[in-house]
Symmetry: C2
Subunit: 160 residues, 2 copies
């Protein structure tokens, strides 16, 4: 698997991944009906640096990296990851995570924080714990899951 | 004390409050050298609804209210508060907080979350606990305090 910075030419492939993640509404606290343009602007824009994971010539995953806060909180990174539905369970997220730790360290970040990991997203929680993240917070009933109803959101943290 | 929605005509008074908060760099994870225009755009813009507290005809405090997350997380509110330096210790923050709970409830929010309360900001932590907030998370060394160095940030939560 090759992981490289995303370019505007990747927008369609990124949207293809994000669309199913967003429409499912089970893992990200983003509008389920977010438009293609708004989703791509969110993922690639602002202060985010975005990457794509390529396997067999196809974009199978994407992630962004940014500072989680400004000012006195700018030494902690934040990332968001999404994997192509057809490519799940094959280590894409893990490979992107390991890549993101190196990218974050290279930019001088000292830790990484995830602000909103939906507690019912068991594969994600298991992966983050396996990769050294600690649960440092739990917000009660913070996410309205389309099937399970209100579930907690976790805050995860890992030194880099 | 009267608390009412902020208008563009309040921008100078809001900036006067924010400037000393930002320049001190002790309580908000925002750039200490944020410009007036960027600070006012942050406080009044985007999806924020902003309010001012008036005492003796003067703006002595300001706060904003917004959804803390989108999509499945949009039922939890988030607020930021700032009090004029000369008016601190007189219940301005408490009055704004109580006002914000009612405003948030009126908009259908079910809880309120603060994502980044600097742990060394003891008066704030004490006030939030007194007003019913629980500490639901603690991020180690998340804030680089200009005098104390790295201190933890707290995540606070309160049902509405």
């Amino acid at each position: 698997m090759d992981i490289r910075p995303a370019t505007p030419a990747d927008a369609d492939a990124i949207w293809h991944i994000l669309e199913s993640v967003l429409r499912a509404g089970e893992t990200y606290a983003l509008d389920r009906d977010l438009s293609r343009d708004d989703a791509v602007a969110f993922w690639l824009g602002g202060d985010r640096q975005s990457f794509v994971a390529i396997a067999h010539g196809m974009v199978v995953g994407t992630y962004y990296l940014r500072a989680n806060q400004a000012g006195g909180g700018a030494h902690i990174a934040n990332c968001g990851y999404a994997t192509l539905a057809e490519a799940r369970g094959r280590g894409v997220a893990r490979a992107m995570a390991v890549h993101s730790f190196a990218e974050a360290r290279a930019r001088g970040f000292r830790a990484m924080q995830f602000n909103f990991v939906v507690s019912s997203n068991v594969p994600a929680v298991r992966l983050w714990h396996a990769l050294g993240f600690e649960t440092v917070g739990r917000v009660p009933e913070a996410f309205d899951h389309p099937e399970r109803g209100l579930v907690d959101a976790l805050i995860l943290y890992r030194r880099l």
